[in-house]
């Protein structure tokens, strides 16, 4: 039988094993493996407006005054960020994977 999630220790009334279908593990899938193309920053064009981050369905873009970061573990390469960028500061590049 697969491992059952453990009950919160603060609530002793709850048995250690839940009955019925219950999900208790917060976990993301590494959806970056889906990517055919990846967004790459063209630094000199970026004005840090944050529009790309506002529209990323995965919320994996971080835009600050000094930093710009895309979490490629999850980025599916949909291209929305590049499409909404008013300055053309994101270029979709073919994904290069080893093997």
């Amino acid at each position: 039988m697969p491992a059952q999630p453990n009950a919160p220790t603060a609530k002793p009334a709850v048995p250690t094993k839940y009955l019925g279908p219950v999900a208790t593990v917060f976990k993301a899938s590494p959806t970056g493996s889906w990517r055919d193309v990846r967004p790459e920053l063209v630094k000199e064009r970026c004005i840090a407006c944050g529009i790309c981050a506002q529209h990323c369905p995965l919320d994996v873009i971080t835009v600050g005054k000094e930093e710009f970061h895309i979490d490629y573990t999850y980025c599916k390469g949909c291209g929305i960020c590049a499409n909404v960028c008013p300055k053309g500061a994101l270029a979709m590049q073919p994904e290069r994977r080893e093997g």
Binding site: Q4, P5, T24, V25, F26, K27, H55, C78
Partner: protein
């Protein structure tokens, strides 16, 4: 308590098995930002059920119940009633359902929750078909659009869900779009507040679907914006019975600029396109009548 095994900036994980370019996912993130951790969410088995999780794993950090397709509003109403009798205050009860689960099979339970005045927020993400089961047409499918059950184009004009919601005289009803995220965020905040303080709140969000509408995922936001810019989708808010446009499109583009972005209208004839232009124009005139 959740065992957190992946990092997340907010209440949703970043790697979810939604399609690339999914605007339902984008809408869900804005919803959870507005509702916050003190929320309980009911999600029927549609695309958004991907947020509920699989087996022991989930991708959201708020309590979620996956209901059935037609009773999201009834489960939410029961949850609210339970919280009420237990004296648990300050918790948002949210239904998050697609157009099929709302405009088709879920309309009866939703109408009843509106009529009773239950303090729930109901958010419909409208991708205009049963996308999770494979792009079957719904009452919300755009006229003449292709789906797997409307292979020759969808017949009928659909339902105006905003009017239906507003006809229940609920305190807050609005449309929004994944292409207008600031407008969306503001309305979500207003809807959360209305559901807490006044009664039922309804938000109907246009969430274009690259998989079902047949367009490049990169264009999701562009398609959502085009719907608004052509007046195929209007951004409206009805607060205590007062209607107002929140994004006024003064100089609309021809409907063709919206239709031609999408493969689902590929077989459209010029005559059909002209008819859809007339439809959009006349629907806008009716909308203006509400604003007076």
């Amino acid at each position: 308590m959740l065992k957190v095994e992946s990092p997340a900036k907010h209440l949703m994980a970043h790697g979810i098995s939604t399609c690339a370019g999914c605007s339902m996912e984008l809408a869900a993130r804005y919803l959870l930002k507005a509702a916050g951790p003190q929320s309980i969410v009911v999600i029927p088995p549609g695309c958004a059920a991907l947020l509920s999780g699989f087996g022991a794993e989930t991708v959201v950090k708020v309590p979620v119940f996956q209901g059935n397709l037609e009773n999201t509003a009834a489960y939410a109403a029961g949850i609210r009633a339970g919280l009420e009798v237990l004296g648990k205050e300050g918790i948002n009860v949210v239904g998050f359902a697609g157009d099929g689960a709302t405009v088709d099979i879920g309309l009866q339970a939703l109408s009843a929750a509106f009529e009773r005045g239950d303090h729930i927020l109901y958010v419909c993400y409208d991708n205009e078909a049963y996308m999770n089961t494979g792009i079957q047409g719904s009452a919300s499918t755009f006229p003449d659009a292709w789906t797997t059950t409307t292979p020759a184009g969808k017949e009928g004009l659909g339902k105006n869900m905003l009017e239906i919601a507003a006809a229940h005289r609920i305190p807050y009803a609005a449309t929004a779009s994944a292409g207008y995220v600031n407008d969306l965020a503001r309305k979500l905040t207003a809807a959360v507040q209305a559901a807490r303080e006044k009664g039922p709140a309804y938000l109907h969000i246009s969430t274009p679907c690259p998989t079902g509408w047949r367009f490049d995922p990169a264009l999701t936001i562009a398609v959502a914006k085009a719907a608004v810019q052509t007046r195929a989708w209007n951004l409206v808010e009805v607060v205590d019975g007062d209607w107002r446009l929140t994004v006024e499109v003064k100089d609309p583009k021809p409907i063709g600029e919206y239709l031609r972005l999408q493969g689902r209208f590929r077989a459209l004839t010029p005559e059909q396109e002209a008819k859809l232009q007339q439809l959009v124009d006349s629907e806008y005139e009716k909308l203006l009548a509400h604003l007076k």
